[in-house]
Symmetry: C2
Subunit: 432 residues, 2 copies
Amino acid sequence: MNDKKVKVGLMGLGTVGTGVIRLVEGHRDDLTQQTGLQIEIAKVLVQNPGKERSISVQSDLMTTDPYNLLHDPEIDVIVEVMGGIDNTLEYILEALNQGKHVVTANKDLMAIHGSTILKKAAEKNCDVFYEASVAGGIPILRALVEGFSSDRITKMMGIVNGTTNYILTKMSQEGASYEDVLKEAQALGYAEADPTSDVGGLDAARKMSILSTLGFRAGVNLEDVSCKGITGVTSEDIDYGKKLGYVMKLIGIAQQNDELIDVSVEPTLVKQSHPLASVNGVFNEVYVYGEAVGETMFYGPGAGELPTATAVVSDLVTVVKNIKLGVNGRGMVAPYKVKKLKTDEEILGKYFIRLIVDDKSGVLSQVTKTLADHDVSLEQVMQQPYNNGSKAELIMVTHTSSKKSILSILKQLEESDYVNEVKSFYRVEGGE
Amino acid sequence: MNDKKVKVGLMGLGTVGTGVIRLVEGHRDDLTQQTGLQIEIAKVLVQNPGKERSISVQSDLMTTDPYNLLHDPEIDVIVEVMGGIDNTLEYILEALNQGKHVVTANKDLMAIHGSTILKKAAEKNCDVFYEASVAGGIPILRALVEGFSSDRITKMMGIVNGTTNYILTKMSQEGASYEDVLKEAQALGYAEADPTSDVGGLDAARKMSILSTLGFRAGVNLEDVSCKGITGVTSEDIDYGKKLGYVMKLIGIAQQNDELIDVSVEPTLVKQSHPLASVNGVFNEVYVYGEAVGETMFYGPGAGELPTATAVVSDLVTVVKNIKLGVNGRGMVAPYKVKKLKTDEEILGKYFIRLIVDDKSGVLSQVTKTLADHDVSLEQVMQQPYNNGSKAELIMVTHTSSKKSILSILKQLEESDYVNEVKSFYRVEGGE
């Protein structure tokens, strides 16, 4: 029973690839017991075979040519942990064309080309699994697809990017500026040399598009996700948030009501008492709300060599079990719902607004009248002197209102003669 | 593709059974889309067909004879949500004998007879799924079996019984006695008329035996779980715990180091800053630690009509998908590891100890010498007058030590002439 081997072509031997080899080798007996088959890493695609590595890999397994893996008829499964988008798409599609199953940790690829890849996989009766692409070691995709298959997901909300969470945590704890903390994070390896996709919110937006496609069973593309990064977050914003009882986090939210969807990633002030406010460093936490199940939550490491590798190798175990059963490529459910996005009028939320105004009588009344004209009322207001008292700073948290109202209020305030500057505005979450 | 129907025999139409019908009917289109087959509730076993119910069920579907379901050749799947052990075991085994797949929410049954049932299922190529048996709406069994298939679980720790959590939460918040809160919980329906299995810890122990069998891949039986309930917890214990920074919770812990296992359920003082300390009411929360993945956590409703029904119907969806693929009964992994339980010497922990002693000089020194003789040191000590100052009360939290040392210290203290009474001792969790 255990003599047939499943041969794996591993594309990429960076952090995650190293972890995959460690797990497949270190847990060999366990994996064989569970799958009934032996798993063998048959070839490894690397950029530089001569590079020093923290694990030893037989040099004759290594190759720099992806087609040595893709066109090897003995290889059953491609595990893609090299990253990248355009070339990688080509390789993955070729792997599927060759009848090979695919496990990938590549959220960029799946968020942009997921539907193309899954369509090709269905055509070729191949498995494609990508648990590691969202929230690293947390088995959240399985929970959405299988655990909640009987329910209707109404909301998913969480912290899904470790780099920005690390930066915001540090800024909040140390009162340091965004630029200083970013430099420190880069020096420590918590942020990439080019941090754009993390700090711009794109990485989180890609994950939210994957989560919403699976959770809502509708094809939510990356361009459907409204996305704002943390580059504009100042330590003043964080401080004022604190004074009002909030913590600044980069939060992804996907909501669905009455078949209307909105998905966004933006810096958000989270109520201090909400568990998301206490998620520090590189951990991820995702709340999932279902019509029937109510509130559930999943927490764990969002990245890292071994946590991410557990998700990759657990997917590999599923592929190997399917090979054993002869049922690859038939377990997936393509999104079958028609996606309808909410308009700004239909998107509801609370907002934090920070203004610089002239310090003279009547201004507060004019500002609040502008809000009232749009039917927006306030939950909290705080005023204090600004610039040695020559101006005043006005910080407000609204009650729930439409995004459209807030945007037109901000426009009107910006154009008014009693407001000097709209310093910032943020979504607010986690209260009543 | 959608014309074949999968016929379900539903055993039990209480809270969960009602929820199952609501979900199967309310989400009919979704379930058909996902499985490619229609699901029909063909027969329902009830005790009293004439009873008023919150949903309408055609009277000709109802029967009081289980064999009307078990021997109906048209029924493909038995969904068992009636509870009970001995009779229910007989029915489930007969269902499997008849080649029917089984979904059950019955933790009592699975904790005691799980291995018999799974063996029969394997023999008959039938599916048996029981996600709803542990932690209601949280898909934790799937996470252990599939999400972490590539990892080695080292520890699972959590709150898995809502009734005792409700009672301890109330006692802690209101300073009320166990007896008073229990009566209130019974009146509100949060505790059963006979609360023994909840308050005695048995319900939680059954769940921990299921979790450890799956997580450790070794057959952990109910009798392997060391179990202590909350009936002896006093409001004084809760108060002293609070003063030292702890919250009283009924905690299940399953640990595995060097292939040695210990599993227990007992009232435990949890550090106030640990998230488990803030889990209130009927919610469940389970931490899962893996060698590779590190710390993860799952949170959600532990009971309730619809949350539990989501788990049952999601299992049903898996069975129906397997029927469609023709692969029932082949996805499970029987426990393959040899279970070795830790001795008391190998079980390590911190402990809270509360003593009544004579209020005279030298007693504290004698008590601490007894501890030191067993190599146990203290993290916190608090002394205060007792019984109008005629005695003193001594409350201590130890550093990590073996359970064996603690038990022999307690015995020695009890027999000594300087200690009047060992009032209580509890495990302590969640600190460094």
